[in-house]
Symmetry: C2
Subunit: 439 residues, 2 copies
């Protein structure tokens, strides 16, 4: 495209829900600011959404209920995909790219699960498939990983990347409330989906984590190899014991690169309350990235919401627009930031990881129980960092143990042996502790 | 430049001190990672530094003590200026740009005070003058402001942008130590300059603040209009009283855009200890940016040090390299991120700002003093939010007041009147309180 001829960028939006509607509104509301930065206008020339009433969208020349009308509209330079899900989102993005249009998407599931099919199509047609808004809402974390920290070998990253889960854990900690109780409130407030599994079982976080890990380490997208564990089994008591030991419980996505392989895991995690990440509360998101040169940097802000997500969608549009105006014939950098991905690094099984652990054991109030537990841990080469033993409640006494680093497989064997003790009641509660290589 | 022909980017480094040496080392240590991202090698072909011993720099074809040898080296595509100061840094950058070379600088004073002269030269010659490392060390805050948040009207930003000052305040708070005592330690640790004024009087922070404000608001660089107030008058008692009221004291750089004008100010500030920013400790830096769409996002990490700063220098080199490889003939975006700057917005005088205030008054232990002070505040339309009145120490009693929002000019008049009271000893301590539009 000849930059001299560009008077405005022509955008088409597929899906006018929260994010799509927010994007439309933001392009209107901030158009002076955007023009001052970009040097030309961004014009929404086509929109499409199921049951769209064109009368509600004055000023848009093409308003349709068929999303493919946008994809095939010759006037459109950039397609914004804010439909969510896979059908028809995948086909919309695929066809838009094949038609030589840039695509901006907020669809984390689509990128995480089918990005590997879509990026080569974008590459083949010399267009961008941008997805800043798919991870951590309004926080420009994709740009930080792909550009701002590009001089680093990224060693690990860890993030609170699901606002609903963080809201629930924050409320449980602040008011001693039960998980189910807060979840209902989150649903009433519109934070959580009607089917909350995506949020509280870690699926949504795993989508985002697998995208960040790919960019950080230069590896393929590997959502299906990401270990996920939800937060529904966390109790206010666990949160209290953790606090007593100097920790908070957060639902973290963690990705680590080591000589043995890559760790990709989402699970509740104890982190020292002195860390900034432990103090990110409510629906906020935050990601810590550790690079071998820069050390740890943290990025936090709103991880969801119409306006915050639209901020990232429009940032992608502006990036693409700046490149178009400069006359670029191909994207400035590869979709995942690496010219070639390292495919050979295996994703470690969760039993292979090394971590510290929080264990809560309900034991009978008898002499010698603690000695038996200690012996079993020692037999599995697990050493104890701290213990809290409380007053007996009826006939059982809760024992809380913080371990030093151990291989998870050995820890699981030790737990099985402890659960087999006659003096131990029911299952042992096990939560991973993350010290990020420091204390 | 024809992208096909680029086998490596040729870099020349002027100044081999902490940052320059760190940049050289980082380019060696992470060269595999950088090549995987960029798609070609970055080669340091020329270096120059006073008293340089070429024998210490094997593999560099040109090593000189004259920095202009690098600037005039035809083999060099990108000049890294890590000399610091103005002379010869200004002339080095000016000539490099005039020679059609891209320049990457870590020199915050140079950009803040003379960027307005240098950016037009870069523009004229179609090259980049990049300065990510000049603000907040390894944190990619320039990229966030200029690109990641480009869809927003930035309303304000506030940051801890001098690590030495934050180290001093953190130590004072943690151990009740005096300012002078911790400053000496900071100097011994190599954090603070021998002349500490740059750090503790807020000059260094004002350099960084004026750069961020220009990019955030699209205004000219206005370092000389930035209000600065240091931290040497803060006492452990102030820190304790602030803590009792729920606040921490941080040395903040604050920039705000309003209908009346721009506020640019660096001063000690009480912020609620519940805010993430209040919990950034030690030599760390952090910046909160508030955009009208995204809301508040926070960026934190190491603000200084050889490796962290080099991380940002090399990120700039990679950005420039990606553009060169894509065949770009001109920078992708203007140096300050706006196609045209808003020059008409005045910088407000510090007396025009509206803020809440912490006041500490040493009064004689007599009946009616508090009533007199309250009356004087009321006469100047200043209302009180909280008061701490302690036991008398010898014959004087410390009174600590937190006010609601007031115009600083009126507050100063009230303070003058209070200081004139017979029952008040000495000067009133006044520290601004920042609630960032919320509580």
């Amino acid at each position: 495209m000849n930059p001299e001829s560009v008077k405005s960028l022509k955008v088409g939006i597929c899906g006018l829900g929260t994010v799509g509607g927010g994007t439309f509104a933001l392009l209107q509301n901030n158009q002076d600011e955007i023009r001052a930065r970009l040097g030309c206008d961004i014009e929404v020339v086509a929109i499409a959404s199921r049951n769209l009433d064109a009368a509600n969208w004055p000023g848009v020349s093409q308003a349709a209920s068929d999303v493919f009308a946008v994809v095939n509209d010759e006037a459109v330079d950039i397609v914004v995909e804010t439909l969510g899900g896979f059908d028809p989102a995948f086909e919309v993005v695929r066809q838009a790219l094949a038609n030589g249009k840039h695509v901006v998407t907020a669809n984390k599931a689509l990128i995480a699960e089918r990005g590997s099919e879509l990026f080569p199509i974008a590459h083949k047609h010399g267009v961008c498939l941008a997805y800043e808004s798919a991870v951590a809402g309004g926080i420009p974390i994709i740009k930080a990983l792909r550009e701002g920290l590009a001089a680093n070998r990224i060693e690990w990253l860890a993030g609170i990347i699901n606002g609903t889960g963080n809201f629930i854990l924050t409320e449980m900690a602040a008011h001693g409330r039960q998980f189910d109780d807060v979840l209902q409130q989150a649903q009433a407030l519109g934070y959580a989906e009607a089917d909350p599994a995506l949020d509280v079982e870690g699926i949504d976080a795993a989508h985002k984590l697998s995208i960040m890990a790919a960019i950080a380490f230069g590896i393929p997208l590997q959502f299906h190899k990401t270990y996920t564990e939800g937060i529904s089994h966390i109790t206010p008591e666990d949160i209290d014991y953790a606090a007593e030991l100097g920790y908070r419980i957060k639902h973290l996505g963690i990705a680590k690169l080591s000589a043995q392989g890559v760790e990709l895991r989402v699970h509740p995690t104890l982190i020292s309350k002195k860390r900034l990440l432990a103090n990110v509360d409510g629906v906020g998101n935050a990601v810590v990235v550790h690079g071998n040169a820069v050390g740890s940097t943290l990025y936090s802000g709103p991880g969801a919401g119409a306006e915050a997500t639209a901020s990232a969608v429009v940032a992608d549009i502006i990036d693409i627009g700046r490149a178009m105006l400069a006359g670029l014939e191909q994207p400035l950098l590869p979709a995942l930031g690496f010219q070639s991905l390292r495919g050979e690094i295996p994703v470690l099984d969760i039993e292979e990881i090394v971590s510290e652990y929080y264990l809560k054991i309900s034991a009978q109030d008898k002499v010698g129980v603690m000695a038996k537990i200690s012996n079993l841990l020692q037999q599995h080469a697990i050493s104890i960092e701290a213990v809290i033993q409380k007053e007996a409640v009826s006939e059982s006494v809760p024992i809380v143990i913080l371990t030093h680093s151990a291989v998870e497989k050995q820890l699981n064997q030790a737990i099985a042996a402890i659960e087999n003790l006659e003096d131990v009641n029911g299952a042992v509660m096990r939560i991973r502790v993350e010290s990020f290589g420091g204390k």
